[in-house]
Symmetry: C2
Subunit: 466 residues, 2 copies
Amino acid sequence: MEPENGVAAELSHLVPNGTVLNDGPSLEKYSHDEAQWAPFAAPLAVVLARTTQEVAAVVRYAGERGIHVVPRGAGTGLSGGANSMENSIVISLELMTAIREINSADGFAVAEAGVINDSLRQTVAAQGLWYPPDPASYKTSTIGGNAATNAGGICCVKYGVTRDYVLGLTVVLADGEIAHLGRRTAKGVTGYDLTSLMIGSEGTLGIITEVTVKLLPLSGREDRAIIGYFPSLRAAGHAIAAVKAAGIVPSALELIDSTCLRAVDNWLHLGLPENVNVMLLASVDEPGSTGELLANRLASIFLTHGGSHIEQATDPKKTEKLFLARRMAYPALERLGQILTEDICVPRSAVPDMLSRIEASAAKYDVVIANIAHAGDGNLHPQIIVPHGDVASKARAKLAFDEIVTDCRLLGGTVTGEHGVGLLKLSGAAAELGQRVIDMHQSVKNALDPNGTLNPGKAFPHTHRN
Amino acid sequence: MEPENGVAAELSHLVPNGTVLNDGPSLEKYSHDEAQWAPFAAPLAVVLARTTQEVAAVVRYAGERGIHVVPRGAGTGLSGGANSMENSIVISLELMTAIREINSADGFAVAEAGVINDSLRQTVAAQGLWYPPDPASYKTSTIGGNAATNAGGICCVKYGVTRDYVLGLTVVLADGEIAHLGRRTAKGVTGYDLTSLMIGSEGTLGIITEVTVKLLPLSGREDRAIIGYFPSLRAAGHAIAAVKAAGIVPSALELIDSTCLRAVDNWLHLGLPENVNVMLLASVDEPGSTGELLANRLASIFLTHGGSHIEQATDPKKTEKLFLARRMAYPALERLGQILTEDICVPRSAVPDMLSRIEASAAKYDVVIANIAHAGDGNLHPQIIVPHGDVASKARAKLAFDEIVTDCRLLGGTVTGEHGVGLLKLSGAAAELGQRVIDMHQSVKNALDPNGTLNPGKAFPHTHRN
């Protein structure tokens, strides 16, 4: 029996209700998230856990044997945070899909880590409640993964990110013990905010198995979409700044550039206007005449800043149609080649400059870069597209990626707005954090995971081990 | 020369621009915050620092000599987080009052720790920007103290707490090094959320010297106040639950009980109605007809649940008058005796039950307990009033205090909603957190302050030192 099989067999005893996989295709499937550009290696085994206790048993087992544990939700991450490595067990939370409680009186829900974001969203909506965070992956990503990466999304510009909605967590710690962090109340300041510390830590400090989230009332909002097309990235950038200057907080403010528009139109034949360069897509959700007024003001700002083909929609079907180009941009680009997805966030006022720099990087390194952006947040997702099999182009893409990260820092930005450091942003994070703050990370990591069991090497640059 | 004088003299060399105090009245003045119920001792000296570098120099000096450092803003804390102890230097940040940057394009400001909340608020308002967090102490408390305690306030029910507005921090660490945490962008997930970890840690992990806060547009809101009087705490509790059930998120929802109302009226002769037991005070800030509609719905909910003398106001002067009883409640109660201020937070639906239990504790221990509450958040501030010099009553007050904390836990609450653990809530926090989570706190504390220099014994129950 190979050592791997030995591990799998032992794990099967530990997780009688879970599933242990160690066949080749499974090991391959679970060896990485959507960041294939980052390094990965096949795990020793994959455990599909069904309970917090099973996760705890596996972590304890791994810790005792010096094996690493790589936790994973749906594997939709884009930074390699769930990429497996040598001598690792992957623990997938995907089977832990119970929504354990929905409390409408107090406005919270308790969900196991494997609950799909959209499933939670729909289930609570049936009770008149709303879970705002809406990462692009909301139809497939899990609430545990959303918490572990502090996922963002389109509505962040008004409603904030995953961390803003997590009240409490159940976490399996590095020693296999189970901790309950946080609270169920609207407010609370008892002790350190270990809940926030866990959120976005990519499973390096503990494995999130259950999440208590704050919910808002579903009622009282009316969505209105406003779109417009602009002749240049710069013109769109000025329109975005003008929205901000007008004191309007839209519930979405997205940018899609001509490469994306053409890719979507060539694929789906939506009849998008020709001779336009950029689309801005906004929404407001204030009800009644307030929302109408805001939508009209947005449309007027778009017009003043060179916008054309401006449309508004309140009907959900028409709104969905206006947003279709945004939703289909990524799959449309994927048809053009392999994509290296960037995720930078600059101060909003630096968006036009940053977009110009991205254009310059594309020209300099002779790669196609399409732009999708949560423009209202300054959170840009340049998509570097490499023809399949073009090794030279792939190498140039990586250089462009690094230059964009460096430029974002020069403009006062952060190297990852919502995807996380994972493995792809380690060098950018090192430059951003500086040695003293990296040392603080390492101290906290050593304190909570002294043997380095949990997802080592992810989330922050490890320059040394004490 | 006494050792104290030696310390003061040495400190004077370290902080040429700051002020070092070691006269008796100053040592007394700086020996505690507003939690005189908690233990305190005179410090060796008080440093009024003027720069981050001076704070760093003092921390390094203290660390080398095994002296503790107790950081302090305006000393308005209510849990003893800034109470001095033996062998300590108090570092006050009150002279660090520069607002270093206001960036309206990107919606943030950078303020030194000693800037008064209201000063920041007014300065950014002049540029059309709004800093929401509004603790009751906003006219006197500092932004650094607000961050160190994660201060709440009235608008939290809609707009969240201090942590929700802090983007970044400059912090002096236990070794006297200076770290810059966080970012200036709207979003960011680079590394662990050490900013959130520092916020609410009461200076036990680092001393906050500068705060970067997110600002919202000031425009687009119109305040409308709605007040009503209720025959009982229970009736008011049901009105609060009905507001929540209606899906309305008010910008304030406060409760003031009859003890407070009578104390205010006896003092200021406002002509508050007789024969009423509780006042609810709500506001909404949606503009135009939306706000009008919401205000009318709130008034209607109040009426349905037994409310009387219902009034609305949009005029700022009239609004201020309606809120006067709320603002003057605490000073009015102070005229009646020494106050032990509670701060618990229960799930909103448990507010009526919790208020009943508070009434029962008042009866059981024969003490007067008045209630001021951020009722919409479930955050209650029972005020236990003890006649000056009544030692027996003071002892009973402490028993009532502890019983209220225990009851709040039984109802699923947290022992401190917004004031912090400090020294007053250590035993409650121990019960709430449990040993494993306390151990996590201790590990993090040991990691970031291995010698225990910074404000030891505060913020979480220290059961051991590794």
